[in-house]
Amino acid sequence: MIKGIIFNIQKFAIYDGPGIRTIIFMKGCPLRCIWCQNPEGLMPHPQLCCYERLCIHCHACIQACPKNAIIHNVEDTHIINREICDMCGECVEECPTGALGIIGKEITVKDLIEEIQRDIKYFDSSEGGVTFSGGEPLFQAEFLYETLKECRELGIHTAIETSGYSSQEVIQKISKYVNLFLYDIKIVDEETHRKYTGVSNRLILNNLRSLVLNVRGKDIIIRIPLVPTITDSNQNINNIVGLLVSLKDIEEVHLLPFHDVYEKYKSLGMPYTMTIHEPPNDDRIRYIKDKFVEQGFTVSLWGVK
């Protein structure tokens, strides 16, 4: 049976789609947005991570590692040589406190469905369901498709949180089984998009345009990360407003203000290149919100109405 890789299942999520939701965080993303808030979702393979705060300095990991890939520095925090580390998991097995962990595990469609079904009574009572997030769920298209199909058979409402970066065939195929798209629009200018996310946005915008023709406008919510000076510039916001107006059917917009997540990157040993650390201020957020409201869009922060 086809397997996927996920890095978290969060229950009682109340912001990412209607009702009470279970969020499946899927691993792997083709974009490299420099502000990415979920860096653990970027790589398509399991990663070793380390939470220094939970370490009791027992050094069990050092002894456990068959490759000698872990050393502790003078402050007794971990230095993991990720070149040598082959993710065997011995150190995680031995770490008594959970300071070391592996992010990402393989799971079959059947097992994932079983996990989702545990919360079905909560979906029923709240008209909630499951939301696939990431990473980029479309990055595991086949696994996602099979899981969505099963959900439909079980009558579970489905949402996906996506960058929209995939082939048109994929997005059309899965859209049959998706009740709600939480669709990211980051930057409208193609070159700027490429600069900050690593990819062109042509595919993303085309997919959105064709999606709007295929599904009801109210089944697409546009999510915009507000990253100071990068995505929240007047020009970019005006471009997005213009784009959404031209699409006609879109009704709702979620604004997602940026937060500094340096420590997340650190725990994964990944480089963090953001030079801005402050979230956008309230005035700025209000200004942007008004821009969308003026055009008749329903706007909320983080999906909180």
């Binding site: 009682f12 999520a13 009791i56 959970g98 709240s126 500094d260």
Partner: protein
């Protein structure tokens, strides 16, 4: 023996509709009628006559008591210069002259009537008894409606009277406790629990204007007493549940929420009539009972983790070295988990036998030497049966044992099953040595035992642990219920899962346990997961809890920690309400929310390893608080303090 179970004097019950529909003179009339019909050849004639006479005497006593108030009020009124206040005092004098002798006619009289009876009952029983007016919105509504319609009462005036009524409870704490009793239940709270919501006798929705008004008054007063309970039925509107959640969100964990449809099932299973079952509610902490018709006596707490400790030591209490249990075998020689389970259940049975015998003896002593004729006036059918409440006069009689430490004992058994018998991470001898040394020198083993990633833990929707909780709850329900009715009251035997504060005391007298708990630390509370071990949020906890069959018990207490931003707006409250609905549909009995405060978050910053279960909403996502960078933690604390999300 107090290390294994606490013993309690009997007394627990709640008031029913009889109180609000009957005057003392009506009861006196009834007593006279029954006395006249008593058959002199009845072998119990003498006892019955004595009991009826006693009832008649205390009935007179409460009227005399009330009339003293009436006279005094008139005296005060005479010297009162303010005409408005004078009128009020005169009204009060008139009310105290009418009730409790006669059945109340107005809202105000009904409150005063109840209060006289409450005072009578609590003075008579003296020991802590949790007496309560019960379903206050149900009993009072006809008075309220009539008074409003006839222009005697306004909503504001009703509110003021309710506030005065609640303050009376608050000024009457439980009698002081000493010694072990104090250790077991260190509170002066009298646990008078006022119920709102639920269903009516005919099965229809009981939420009315008063249900809201009562909660509104509580919200404004926020006194220690009385306590409140929100009964939630499928028949009740969401609006009411959300309103109650708003009040709970102020952070005091009150009011708690109860599954009234589940309470009705419990009552029906115990053989109550459908009408009596629907008029039931919860008293004390979480105890279901047929209000006004049942003597449901709580007989004391039962320390399950201690019994596991004694099992692991082959009948010996390692604290004293004395053999106080059965020799059920040296666990180091057990070949599989089943042998340990069998030994544990054998040990449980042994202590249960002792406890049951003791309960029946205490019941006999109370029946004979501690009659409560005044309480008997108000609990149906003591008068008709010519029998005291403590001697089995009530319509329904039940004896409860309160089980303590489900989380600790489940996790301990799960740890042994998983690590010793399945994965063979360590041997039983190594584990026993670690327990004897209170994990000193075995810190890594302890860490592993306390880590839900490494050891199955109840409360995370993990079947490996939850299946054991299911088995424990089922086995104990069946064991206790298999005992024959008590000889005096003919009381059936039932189980509650609640600790009051005894989990702290029981923890103090229980050594280190295989779930990684150190000696002397509290055992788990109610049916909640072990403190800090539930890492997957409330739905996973609800799912774990709901796997157990609580309908076979009389009630079970669940505390859940919630991050305060959940209460941030109406839409979130709606979702929380929906999750309570789902939990109750799955069979949950009770849930109480503890809203995490800024102080708790600060504490978590200092001791991250003790707060690994704390989940907070960061921004677009939730994360474990202790894993967040310091700056973000500070930001969240500020948000919590400002209550802005």
């Amino acid at each position: 023996m107090d290390r294994i179970y606490g013993a309690k004097t009997p007394g627990h019950t709640a008031g029913g509709e009889k109180i609000f529909k009957t005057g003392v003179l009506d009861i006196k009339e009834k007593i006279k009628e029954i006395m006249n019909k008593l058959d002199r050849s009845d072998p119990e004639y003498f006892e019955k006559m004595q009991e009826l006479k006693a009832m008649d005497i205390v009935a007179d006593a409460i009227i005399i008591y009330a009339q003293r108030y009436s006279r005094r009020l008139l005296e005060i009124a005479e010297n009162e210069p303010d005409p408005e206040r004078r009128k009020e005092l005169m009204d009060m004098a008139e009310i105290c002259n009418w009730v409790p002798a006669h059945a109340p006619r107005t809202f105000w009289e009904a409150l005063q009537h109840y209060w006289f009876i409450h005072v009578g009952i609590t003075y008579e029983t003296n020991p802590w008894d949790s007496f309560t007016p019960g379903r206050l919105d149900l009993w009072l509504y006809p008075f309220y409606k009539k008074d409003i319609e006839e222009g005697r009462l306004t909503r504001e005036r009703a509110k003021e009277l309710l506030a005065c009524f609640f303050l009376k409870f608050n000024s009457q704490p439980a009698p002081p406790k000493v010694g072990v009793t104090h250790e077991e239940s260190s509170t002066y709270n009298d646990f008078s629990k006022i119920n709102v919501g639920g269903i009516k006798e005919d099965g229809s929705n009981n939420v009315n204007e008063l249900s809201y008004l009562i909660l509104e008054v509580y919200d404004e007063l926020r006194t220690l007493q009385p306590n409140f309970a929100v009964l939630v039925s499928e028949k009740n509107p969401d609006h009411f549940l959300i309103y109650a959640l708003k009040i709970a969100s102020a952070g005091f964990g009150e009011p708690p929420f109860f599954n009234h449809d589940g309470v009705v099932i419990k009552m029906l299973r115990q053989g109550k009539t459908l009408e009596d079952a629907r008029l039931s509610g919860v008293s004390g902490c979480v105890e279901s009972g047929a209000f006004g018709k049942e003597a449901y006596i709580l007989t004391g707490y039962f320390n399950l983790p201690k019994i596991l400790e004694i099992t692991l030591n082959n009948g010996v209490d390692p604290r004293t070295g004395k053999k106080i249990g059965l020799e059920t075998g040296n666990p180091e020689q057990f070949r599989d988990f089943q042998e340990l389970w069998d030994a544990f259940i054998k040990q449980v049975k042994y202590f249960l036998d002792l406890k049951m015998h003791g309960n029946d003896v205490i019941e006999a002593i109370y029946a004979r030497f501690m009659p409560v004729p005044f309480l008997s006036l108000w609990i149906e059918d003591c008068v008709e049966n010519c029998k005291d409440y403590n001697a089995g006069g009530a319509r329904y009689n039940t004896q409860y044992i309160q089980m303590v430490g489900l989380g600790t004992v489940t996790d301990s058994l799960a740890a042994i099953k998983y690590h010793v018998f399945e994965r063979k991470t360590f041997s039983m001898s190594e584990l026993m040595e670690a327990l004897r040394r209170n994990f000193e020198g075995y810190e890594l083993m302890m860490e592993m035992l306390r880590n839900p990633e490494k050891t199955p833990k109840y409360g995370n929707d993990d079947d490996r642990a939850d299946s054991l909780a299911v088995k424990i709850v089922e086995t104990l329900s069946n064991l206790v219920r298999s005992y024959p009715p008590s000889p005096i009251r003919r009381a059936s035997k039932e189980v509650y899962w609640l600790p009051t504060t005894v989990h702290v005391y029981f923890g103090k007298v229980t050594g280190a346990t295989p779930d990684g708990r150190k000696s002397g630390f509290p055992v788990s509370e109610g049916i909640s997961p072990v403190q800090g071990m539930d890492r997957k949020g409330i739905i996973a906890t609800f799912n774990s809890v709901a796997k157990c069959d609580w309908d076979k018990t009389g009630g079970a207490l669940l505390n859940v920690k919630l991050s305060p931003e959940i209460f941030g707006d109406e839409e979130n409250l709606r979702k929380l309400a929906q999750s309570i609905r789902a939990f109750f549909r799955l069979g949950g009995h009770h849930v109480q929310f503890n809203v995490v405060s800024a102080e708790v978050l600060r504490e978590a910053q200092k001791r991250p390893r003790d707060f690994q279960d704390l989940m907070v909403r960061v921004a677009g996502y939730s994360d474990y608080f202790v894993r967040l960078p310091k700056a973000l933690q500070d930001e969240i604390i500020t948000r919590v303090e400002k209550k802005s999300f």
